[in-house]
Symmetry: C2
Subunit: 219 residues, 2 copies
């Protein structure tokens, strides 16, 4: 990892063209060859960057970074204030918890959360346009397609609607009803879902996990 603090101007030509006027900035060159340029605000997003794989050439204070697609990042250095390099090695990586895949696992294991008598058919039920998160039966033996999101917005309702259209063309399954399950459902998504006869369920992640933990403790 090479850290450079310098006054520089930057030009990018690729998916769009962009220009950064001359100013002091941080330039990061990482071990994989990637380059990013940061201002002194915002944690997440660099002002400009080039993702790996790419190659960097330095000549007369002009750095040219090119990738395979022919995108170019040109950094014109004016005043280098700091320049240091450090060996970091490969990072062991982030361990996450609480994402959609985990919600799906938890809900599949506790499908009765959706209602009395519910039973799982399968997770990731395959269709021509992609897998439905959960397919299950309700207490009356009817088929239910469940779409799970961390945050339920309009896109998720549209997605579930496409699945339902398709599933209902299959005479073996039809009629299939829809349930939109999320930790948080935005009002507009709820309105759209309700308008289309899709049920909405707010999931309590801690409660679902708590149930799982109780289960685990039994063994």
């Amino acid at each position: 990892m090479r850290l450079v603090i310098a006054r520089c101007s930057v030009d990018y030509a690729g998916r769009l063209t962009a220009h950064l006027p001359s100013a002091p900035r941080l330039i990061l060159v990482k071990a994989d060859g990637s380059v990013s340029i940061h201002a002194d605000d915002r944690a997440y997003k660099p002002l400009n960057w080039m993702s790996p794989p790419c190659t960097l050439k330095e000549a007369d204070g002009v750095w040219t970074v090119v990738n395979k697609a022919g995108e170019k990042l040109i950094i014109t250095m004016e005043e280098v204030v700091h320049d240091s390099s450090h060996e970091l090695g490969v990072d062991p990586g982030l361990i996450k918890d609480g994402v959609e895949a985990h919600l799906q696992e938890l809900l599949a294991d506790r499908i009765e959360t959706l209602g009395t008598g519910y039973s799982l058919i399968r997770r990731e039920y395959p269709t021509a346009i992609g897998p439905v998160d959960i397919l299950c039966r309700d207490g009356d033996g009817g088929t239910i397609a469940v779409e799970i999101k961390r945050r339920g917005e309009i896109d998720g309702v549209e997605q579930l609607t496409r699945y339902l259209d398709l599933l209902n063309r299959d005479p073996h399954l039809s009629p299939v009803k829809g349930v939109f399950a999320a930790q948080e459902i935005k009002p507009q998504a709820r309105v759209l879902a309700t308008d289309r006869g899709i049920g909405c369920v707010v999931l309590d992640y801690d409660a679902l996990r708590g149930i799982e933990d109780d289960k685990l403790r039994l063994f």
Copy 2:
């Protein structure tokens, strides 16, 4: 901007919980108080971060970053290899070209690109669910709603479909046909659009801009 290279472990508890095992990394503390943690690969995304506004407290090698929503980032420092601070000032910011807004401008100025006899009604035609990119008339006097994207995907077709549903409820406008215009249209989006009677047009940005450039040269 403070640059710290250190062996550290990191815990995040907020929208999810996540953990980074001990390893050497770069920790960036920016002037706005934001903190990000980078490994030695990938230009764009930090391993962990806390967006501003947030506050940082250091105590006995443990850094605690908290934001207003109660999200927490805890960095346990083990071996500090480098620690330097630099004044950068406010960045003048990025100047962009080639985005959707520009495409919309160009197409509005050359609406005949869509077909002979086409004429602009207006850009950003307001509806209850948001503005339609372009509303225009075709050669036969029929009304056309145009949705413009840089990359045309299913979401864009859904969006246009919602606009068309709404516009066709207005007896002054109905019947309104749809055109999906993009620099690149994904196959699935094309299939969905065609299935719904929506026309697809691939835009040539350079050609549109070239036409504009020719126009400018006349004055």
